[in-house]
């Protein structure tokens, strides 16, 4: 691992020199460890917008809302949506190759992970107004601090605690199978939805009621 780290930085350096039109042509290393670029295929050479090693994705609640809407045009508006990027393990172990206990993590890669609430919600007894938010977390071995923050449209590397709206301590569980790609999804619950955050063999769950 000690050997890999400097080499991957060198690789990052070479790649960034190689590509002047890269999406993040800035002085700051905007990628950081959760999105180490190892494999760059020919497909990634795109003069307009680079394909990302950690692709973006979105999950709705109700689950698969856009598809549901096709079959039920009179469906009520959606309740929530998460827009996030999906880094992958690429042979690394989540803890401590990628993330460290006690250090804030953007819950994804690239842009800060966005939670859109289309309706007022309650999380652990706190009323959260409908609106756009970002999420980040501070992972620990047996629990995570999940933070709802108002610094929307920002890059995920820098968290500004002065814009925190609420902090929630949530339990994490170990799963039997390892997930290669970081995954966020809503699952229906009795009170509303559980926002599942899963990667490697760790799964965290934030219950939300609507």
């Amino acid at each position: 691992m000690k050997i890999i780290v400097p080499w991957s930085f060198l690789l990052l350096f070479l790649l960034s020199c190689d590509n002047k039109t890269a999406k993040e042509n800035t002085t700051v290393d905007t990628k950081q460890k959760d999105t180490v670029s190892i494999s760059k295929s020919e497909n990634n050479v795109n003069p307009y917008a680079q394909n990302d090693i950690s692709p973006m994705d979105m999950s709705y609640f109700p689950v698969d809302y856009p598809k549901l809407k096709m079959t039920k045009p009179t469906l009520n508006p959606p309740l929530a949506r998460v827009v996030y990027s999906r880094p992958h393990l690429q042979g690394r172990e989540l803890f401590h190759d990628v993330l460290k206990y006690g250090e804030p993590w953007r819950l994804g890669a690239n842009e800060a992970t966005e939670l859109d609430l289309y309706s007022d919600a309650t999380i652990q007894g706190k009323k959260i107004k409908a609106g756009r938010y970002i999420l980040y977390c501070i992972p620990r071995q047996d629990k995570w601090d999940l933070v709802l923050n108002s610094n929307i449209d920002s890059w995920g590397l820098q968290q500004d605690p002065s814009l925190d709206i609420a902090r929630f301590t949530i339990p994490v569980t170990k799963t039997a199978n390892s997930l290669e790609f970081f995954t966020m999804v809503f699952l229906q619950s009795a009170a509303g939805a559980d926002l599942i955050m899963a990667w490697d063999n760790v799964e965290a769950k934030l219950p939300i009621s609507f």
């Binding site: 020919e42 497909n43 795109n46 999950s59 709705y60 856009p66 598809k67 800060a112 920002s154």
Partner: protein
């Protein structure tokens, strides 16, 4: 009896795995991406380098050419296209803008296009959070505007969208295969 219990455990494991797989989505073949105007706004924001106010964001999926003829082939001429894959392409304006001479209020919209060989019709539509263009409803249109596409020498493998600054605002540039098209947005 032991065999039976063993079998039950195997089945349970099988179904647990199956459930786990249906709950957690795999990575998409046509990954999603977003572009902001001003370009790289989120990075500029954490670097305290913002000079222009946040104006627009497009969220779209990026299908690949994969050797196929795209315009007139995969994307049929004259049909409403979701300009991507999966969820319909979403464009959000963070302030009022003008497209095709008409005012568009700040908010979230769905962006479709009707592609023809010599002209693209862009459609800004109010029906958000929708899949594809299967349930496209003309009654929810906000504006339609025509733009002339340009041919490029080097084909682009993955559908790409980005903004470029213009004198009157910005263009949303869309490029795929050997076609590039710019939708002017003024503000």
């Amino acid at each position: 009896m032991k065999k039976l219990i063993g079998l039950i455990i195997v089945f349970q494991l099988f179904f647990t795995c199956l459930l786990a797989q249906t709950a957690l989505p795999p990575v998409d073949k046509s990954p999603m991406d977003m572009s902001y105007y001003p370009n790289n706004y989120p990075v500029l924001k954490i670097q305290d380098k913002i000079t222009d106010e946040l104006t627009a964001r497009v969220v779209y999926s990026r299908p690949q050419k994969a050797g196929r003829p795209i315009f007139g082939g995969l994307v049929k001429y004259g049909e409403v296209w979701r300009m991507g894959a999966n969820e319909a392409t979403e464009i959000e304006f963070f302030k009022n803008v003008r497209i095709g001479g008409k005012k568009i209020s700040k908010g979230r919209y769905t962006l479709y296009a009707i592609v023809n060989e010599n002209s693209w019709t862009f459609i800004v539509n109010k029906e958000t959070d929708t899949w594809g263009s299967f349930k496209y409803n003309v009654k929810r249109d906000v504006i339609r505007t025509d733009v002339i596409p340009q041919k490029m020498d080097a084909p682009v493998e993955s559908l790409a969208m980005g903004f470029e600054k213009t004198q009157t605002g910005c263009n949303l540039v869309i490029a795929w295969d050997n076609i590039k098209v710019a939708l002017p947005i003024s503000f």
